[in-house]
Symmetry: C2
DNA sequence: TGACGGTGAGACGTCGGGCGTCTTAGTGTC
DNA sequence: GACACTAAGACGCCCGACGTCTCACCGTCA
């Protein structure tokens, strides 16, 4: 299996710290969370936290976002991997991602509690990284059918649409429902397919 | 109707402020709640808050506790008022109070989030006031049957038991269930009744 | 119209506490 | 015994929340 990740694997201690950051930020909110909260919750000392994540708070949050995105796309890729046709790959990826977003309790809590911070991570600040990781994770599967350039363009669009329909659902289509998503995605797929090859 | 209250009635502005304190303390916790949170939430300016509640944070929390206790016992008394026999008065009061405690979402949230502060208000720090208010609220009803001295002693015990069984439920009795509470309270009631009078 | 009480907006100095760094001691491993 | 890793906590810094204050504004009433 191809390892798609943004960096080296985390040690057990690092994971414990990030788990604590996740829990504390969920409970207290980003600004109100304290490093000492993380110390208490994780059982990892202050000095160790600053040695593992030099730079403080922001580095800690950044590392957490990276880890969560890694996990998100690892799971998504595992779901999609067994699909054969381009159509299935795309539908599974979009539907799977949408459902994963909807089922993410931490995401929901953060969106409710601190919409500013969270929306920023799903739009202006976060989208470039999300697309980068979506591309890294899914291009290997899609490129077999479309080639690398078209794959990247398609994934870029799909990622943006998935986020948009998650944040602002439309009565016209439900990207969490395969029966609804498939016909919605089909024309888009044709658009991205090379003119010389039949797509279905 | 007899007005049982710890002070003068609150103005609309004061109530708006305390509502904001309630919501903010529930959302952020007691220590992490900020006066500016209350300003934003209530729409009442900083200057006005300090003029209405001179002394700051602690006065604000204290006023909130007083208001909530006032409301609690006002509702409880309304529930009990129509009872005739001493037995019914006591059972209704205990069962009603227990249920009200169990249904109080804010209380539950605070107990989960900051057990230290909340437990303190239900035990060491708060019990004297609770008993004082329970006495003021219920003595007029009970005294017809037991006289003032016995009434106060009975209410004191009942308040303590209600709190204890709420905080630490027993498999032996459910004070939120009338059928279970009545036989549990009956012997205690006999104990407090004057020897010269028949109690049932 | 002018006086006046109530309020919003915000500046101000103070002070606590959270921040990030550092040192020390303890523990386990080779 | 050398070394890596960590917990515990002291340290100074500095931001931000606190409580106070002033001023302007608005509605009411004489």
């Amino acid at each position: 299996m191809t390892e798609v990740s943004s960096g080296r694997a985390l040690t057990g201690v690092e994971d414990r710290v990030l788990d604590a950051v996740l829990e504390c930020s969920q409970r207290w909110g980003y600004e109100r969370m304290t490093i000492d909260d993380v110390v208490d919750r994780s059982g990892v000392s202050r000095a160790t936290i600053y040695r593992l994540f030099p730079g403080g708070r922001e580095v800690l949050f950044e590392a957490l976002r990276v880890r969560e995105l890694d996990r998100f796309f690892a799971e998504l890729r595992a779901e999609v991997e067994s699909a054969d046709t381009l159509d299935d790959i795309v539908v599974r990826a979009v539907v799977g991602a949408t459902r994963a977003l909807r089922d993410d309790e931490h995401l929901a809590a953060m969106l409710a509690a601190e919409p500013g911070e969270m929306l920023s991570q799903l739009t202006v600040d976060g989208v470039p990284r999300i697309i980068r990781m979506a591309t890294a994770s899914l291009t290997p599967l899609v490129a077999n059918h479309l080639g690398p350039a078209r794959s990247r363009a398609l994934i870029d669009v799909l990622a943006r649409l998935t986020i948009s329909y998650f944040l602002a659902p439309s009565p016209l289509v439900d990207l969490g429902d395969e029966a609804s998503a498939r016909p919605f995605l089909a024309p888009m797929l044709r658009e991205f397919s090379p003119p010389s090859t039949a797509t279905n």
